[in-house]
Structure formats: C-alpha cells, structure tokens
C-alpha cells in the first residue's frame, strides 16, 4: 500500500464516518481544527484505521496525529517497519 492508496482510503473513511467531502481533504487538513470532527468520530477512525491498514496506532501516538499528512506518515512507517521485520 503506497502513500496515494493510504490517502484514498483515509478520504473514504472521512467520508464514511465524518461526512467529509473528499474534495476538501489534502495532506495539510487538520481533523479537528479544520474539519471540526468530534472525539467520537476520531476514536472510531483510529480503531477502524488500525483494522484496515493492519497497523498499530497506540493511543499516545493517535493523540499527536492532528493532520491527514501525519496519519499518512505514521501508517507508511508502520507498514515499512513490518516489511523490514519480515512481518505479516
């Protein structure tokens, strides 16, 4: 899964759980400050992102992922780490 795939999936999740128009989303978009998402949507997105991307997003990391770009970085790193470590 490359960065573009992750972004597409994230946009789909934002549309599904937050009713956000994908047109309004880019890497700089901040979940709360720009999109006004509430804490319930964020908790749901975090758990579902772990399931869909197959990576762990520990809570202390999740708190710091304020923008779409930050999530892409984290998921990319986590996926690369799995491959490097011969993971799933």
């Amino acid at each position: 899964m490359n960065r573009a795939d992750i972004l597409a999936e994230l946009k789909a999740m934002l549309a599904e759980f937050g009713d956000v128009d994908p047109e309004h989303v880019d890497e700089q978009t901040a979940f709360i400050a720009d999109l006004g998402l509430d804490s319930l949507v964020l908790v749901r997105m975090t758990v579902v992102a772990e399931e869909r991307f197959g990576v762990r997003i520990p809570d202390e990391v999740a708190w710091e992922l304020h923008t779409v770009g930050a999530v892409l970085n984290h998921v990319e790193h986590a996926l690369a780490g799995q491959i490097g470590a011969g993971g799933e």
């Binding site: 709360i32 509430d38 319930l40 749901r44 579902v48 304020h66």
Partner: protein, 598 residues
C-alpha cells in the same frame, strides 16, 4: 462485613454460577465473547483481592483502580468493598489524554498510596509513578499478576453502613479534581431504589428464575452510571450482564445492537449521546440489510440518563430501530448524578416515557406552560427513594409545580460530601430552603415538576456537555489564554443550534499591543489548533476587543452574560468562526429551555 457487602454476597451465595457477567468485543464486525465470570467466581476473586488488601494496606486505605474495561476491574472493586478499603476508580490514559494529569491530581487530593491495575498496564503506570515527586509516590500492583492469597484467607469483619465505600471523581476541573465520597449506605440504598422503583414485581420474578434475561451496555466503569448502573445493579437484581468497552462501542456502534439481539437482553441503558451516536453511525439502508440478523424484540426497558434526555433523539432512535423490533414505549428516561450515588428519578419498566410540549418563550421565562406547537420535553421520571424540591436559586424559596428552579435532592443516596473539601461540601450538600428545610443536595441542574415527574431543563452551572464528556469552561479558557501573548481573558460556553445539538463557543479578547500586525483570524486559528490538540475539541472562536467580555464588579468574567451578548449580536467581533447564516449566529436561532440569563 457491612450490610451492603452481606447483601451483595448473599446473591452470590444463593445463585452461584447460574448468573454471570460477560464481556464481548467486535472482531471483523462479528460479536465475540472475550471473558465471562459467574457470580461465585467473581466472589472468589474478590475475596482473594480482599485478603491481599487486608495483608498489605491499613484499613480504610485509598486504593486507586486503573483498569481497562473488563471483569478484572470489577473483582478489584468488590475486593476493596470486602476489605473495607476505599476504591477510587480512574480512567487509564488511553481513554483520555489528560487522564495521567488527572490521576496525579487524584493521588494528591486523596492521598493515594496504592494503585491496582492489570499486567498489561502495570509497567507503564509504574514508570509514570517513578517520575512523580517523592511525596506523591504511590505503588502500582497488577492484581492478575501477583499470586493472590487463597480466597478463604479473607475473613469478613464488621463495618458500619456509614463507612466510606468508594470515591467517585466526576466533578471539578482538571486542575482541581473533586471526589464524591460514597458510603456503604448510599450504595445499598441506590441499588435498592433501582431495583424497587424501576423494576416491576413481574420483572423481578423473571430475573429470579432461570434463565434470567441479561442487561446489555458499554458504559465506562469509572463513571457513576457505568459503575452503579451497569456493573453493580445486576448483582442487586439477580441478573446477568453482557457488556463491551466504551471504545468498542464507539468504534463499532452495531456491537450494541448485536449484544442485545444475541443475548436476548431485556434492558439497556446509555446517556443521550450514546443513542445519538448509534443513530449517526447507522447509514441509510444499513439496517435493512442487517434486519435478518438483528432482533431487538427482547428489549423491554431502554434507560436514558446522566445527560439531558432529548425528545428528538428518543423519537428518531425509535423510528430507526422499529424495523428490528424496538418499541417506543420501552424508553425509560431518568435523572441522576454522582453526588447522589447515581439515580435520583426514574421511569419504571413498562410505564413508557412522558413527553409533552411546552411554550418556548414561557420556558425561557421560567414557567412550564403546555402548548400544542411548543418544544417537546421528556420527563425524567419520578423521585426514586429521594425527596425532590425545586427551589429558586436566587432566594432559596421553593417554587410551585410548573415553575423552573434548581433541583434539590435529599435522601439516603445523597453522599456525605466531597473528599477533603469541607468548603465545597458545605456549598453543595448543606443547602436549606428559605423556610429552613434541609439539608439538601444542590444539584446545580434546573428543572420543574409536573404531575409528579421531573423535567430537567438546563444547568445552573457553566458545565459544557459534549458527547458524554463533561467539560469545564475553565479548562478551555486556561488553554486559550496561554496560547499567545495577544490572548487576554475569555469566556467559553455551549450554544445549541436549530436541532438542539450543542456547539462550543469561545469569546476571546485580544491584547492589541501584542498582535504585532497579525490578523485576528490568524489568532483564532492558533487557538482552534491548540484546543484541538490539548482537549480534542472543535471550538468556534470569536475574537473581540479588550474589555469586551462582560465581567462582574470584582472582575470575574461572566459566561452566561457573554453568551447572551453574543446571541443578541451586541459583541461586535473582530473575527468570528460562526458563519453569518448559521443558526448559532442569529439571536432567535437555537433553542433551549429555562436557562435564565443570570
């Protein structure tokens, strides 16, 4: 052993493992049961914890419980009750970013020397504790890790009903946590009130016989409704319980319906936001494809409490879930607060909710006047083992039925007070009416009585409630004020939109000398980002000039007046995040009942 412990253990003795508690989770959309303990197993583990506590701590020691959702927490909590140690349930940092900060405040406030947790969380909590200053040093022990003593080494000892059972931290801002001391008598009385006032004799009879229908829920165990309403009340009513963690429900809202359907649950319970969240997450058409799987026909009691109960939510949920067997007459609105253990008023099973329409303008002026095209309010039921008075908060005179005032409560469920805070205890727990009747608990909530039922219409306090989170405006304001040298005093409050959904607004004064040519809109963005990061809150920022936020003569900012000024368009903002066409921006937009512009 107090009468409360005898009462709880009696059920375990009589019923053994014929009754159970089970926790489930969602795995790839499917419900999976992850743990289950029978009553007798719970009792054995609680006795083991009790024996360990008796050996390792002095009587009456304050023991903080920091567990994930699950039965390990419940056995540790019961173990504290058995041993006469005072449990203090607190959230783990994974559910709230500021949980550790809050926990540190509790350790200091309650002089906690021991924290119990599980092996998965003990290492992280241990290293956090090592980093605290030595005078706050507490030890963290995992109850599932240490080899516990045999249950039989626990020996019951006599404890008076007035002894403290646990401390419920709910009220108070992050910097000043406030713990409600709940006695053995309080808990016993509230559990009996729930059993006697909410359940009919016929239902109780069903619960006593096999197979006993379970309850289903997902509330956090560190809140009063999760602890007393979800975990403890089945034990008092001979019932079973199936539950999941709050995070599992938030992430997989259908899990709630799956629990009810799979286990044939006869009752469920949640604050209004839970039902709202379920509704929001059910996309159009989603239920029809699941209809064949889900059947809520077993449900006879759906409690809504701990938050204002909204007619729109009850009606919309009932409509949405009707195809899978949800009946509108099973709604059971209730009202309660931690200061009264949990329940203050409730609606008995089978009675159905009372919803009536009242004139909006009259409500805002403080009177409940029936009007066919007015705003629909839901009654929170009748006093359950409690004496309720509606009192004018300004002069402490009781008001007539149909008049809005502050809700005062008295009864054996009302807590003795706040831990180590005689001043706050005197302010909240020792109220007397103008004619000397008392003492009453001042709930801080506003409402009226009509035909014996309580309608809760607002909050006298400035507390903001969003998605089940109680947010103190001080916490928002403190962050905003320290965002930039140009941010001066400010006021945070909630404003409802046309649908009644509340939004948080912050009116922020600028210090022009520190603005250095920057645009007010840029400052608003900085504040929004900071609040999003620190509190995970989306806030509408309104920037105003110096001395624009109304203050008292002693210089304290006035939130409700700021709010009125904003709604009346008298603030003249330099920047506003609220779009001009938004119902939040119009003086007539939004509605709410009976919040006096004090």
């Amino acid at each position: 052993m107090s009468e409360l412990v005898r009462f709880l253990r009696e059920k375990m003795w009589i019923l053994g493992d014929t009754r159970w508690y089970a926790r489930v989770d969602s795995v790839r959309g499917e419900l999976v049961e992850v743990e289950r303990l029978g009553y007798a197993q719970l009792d054995a583990r609680a006795r083991a914890v009790g024996a360990w506590l008796t050996d390792h701590t002095p009587p009456g020691a304050h023991v903080m419980l920091m567990y994930p959702a699950g039965l390990e927490f419940f056995t540790a909590f019961l173990g504290c009750l058995y041993a006469g140690r005072i449990a203090i349930p607190a959230p783990l940092p994974d559910t709230d970013r500021r949980a550790l900060q809050r926990a540190e405040g509790i350790i200091r406030d309650a002089d906690v020397g021991l924290i119990l947790s599980d092996t998965a969380h003990q290492p992280a909590l241990g290293s956090w504790l090592d980093g605290l200053s030595p005078e706050r040093r507490a030890e963290c022990v995992a109850t599932d890790g240490t080899v516990p003593p045999a249950p039989d080494t626990w020996s019951p000892f006599s404890l008076h009903l007035s002894a403290a059972a646990y401390v419920q931290y709910t009220s108070g801002s992050t910097s000043e946590p406030r713990g409600v001391v709940i006695s053995h008598r309080n808990l016993l009385h509230n559990l009996l009130s729930i059993r006697e006032k909410l359940l009919t004799e016929e239902i109780l009879d069903e619960l006593r016989h096999d197979p006993s229908p379970p309850g289903a829920g997902w509330l956090p165990h560190y809140h009063d409704m999760g602890l007393v309403g979800m975990l403890l009340s089945p034990l008092a009513c001979y019932g079973n319980l199936v539950f999941c963690s709050p995070v599992s429900f938030i992430a997989h809202p259908l899990l709630w319906l799956q629990m009810i359907s799979r286990y044939r649950a006869f009752y469920t319970f949640a604050p209004n936001f839970g039902y709202d969240w379920l509704l929001r997450s059910l996309k159009a058409g989603q239920l029809t494809e699941l209809e064949s799987d889900l059947d809520l026909g077993s449900l006879r009691f759906a409690l809504s409490g701990a938050e204002p109960v909204r007619a729109e939510t009850l009606n919309a949920v009932a409509r949405r879930l009707a195809p899978i067997g949800f009946r509108p007459d099973i709604w059971a609105p209730s009202y309660g607060l931690a200061e009264a253990t949990l329940m203050v008023t409730g609606t008995p099973c089978g009675q159905g909710p009372t919803m009536r329409r009242f004139d909006r303008d009259a409500l805002e002026a403080g009177a409940a006047v029936p009007a066919p095209d007015g705003i629909e309010l839901v009654a929170s039921g009748r006093p359950a083992g409690m004496d309720i008075r509606i009192v004018d908060p300004a002069n402490s005179h009781p008001v007539k039925d149909g008049q809005i005032g502050e809700i005062w409560a008295r009864g054996p469920s009302v807590a003795p007070g706040y831990l180590g805070n005689p001043q706050a205890t005197a302010e909240h727990f020792a109220a007397r009416t103008a004619d000397g009747d008392g003492p009453y608990l001042r709930t801080g909530d506003l409402g009226f009585l009509q035909d014996g039922e309580l309608y809760v219409t607002g909050r006298a306090k400035d507390l903001i409630i969003v998605n089940g989170r109680n947010i103190h405006p001080q916490d928002i304001e403190r962050i905003s004020e320290t965002t930039d040298p140009a941010t001066g005093p400010c006021a945070a409050f909630a404003l409802p939109d046309a649908t009644g959904r509340e939004h948080i607004v912050l009116v922020q004064e600028i210090r022009p000398l520190h603005l250095n040519g920057r645009a007010p809109a840029g400052l608003a963005e900085l504040i929004r980002k900071r609040l999003a990061q620190e509190l995970r809150l989306a806030v509408h920022v309104v920037i105003v000039g110096p001395m624009s936020v109304p203050r008292t003569t002693s210089g304290k900012i006035q939130r409700s007046r700021t709010r009125e000024e904003l709604r009346a368009a008298r603030l003249d903002p330099l920047h506003s995040d609220i779009p001009a066409q938004s119902p939040l921006a119009s003086p007539t937009g939004g509605h709410e009942a009976g919040r006096p512009g004090s």
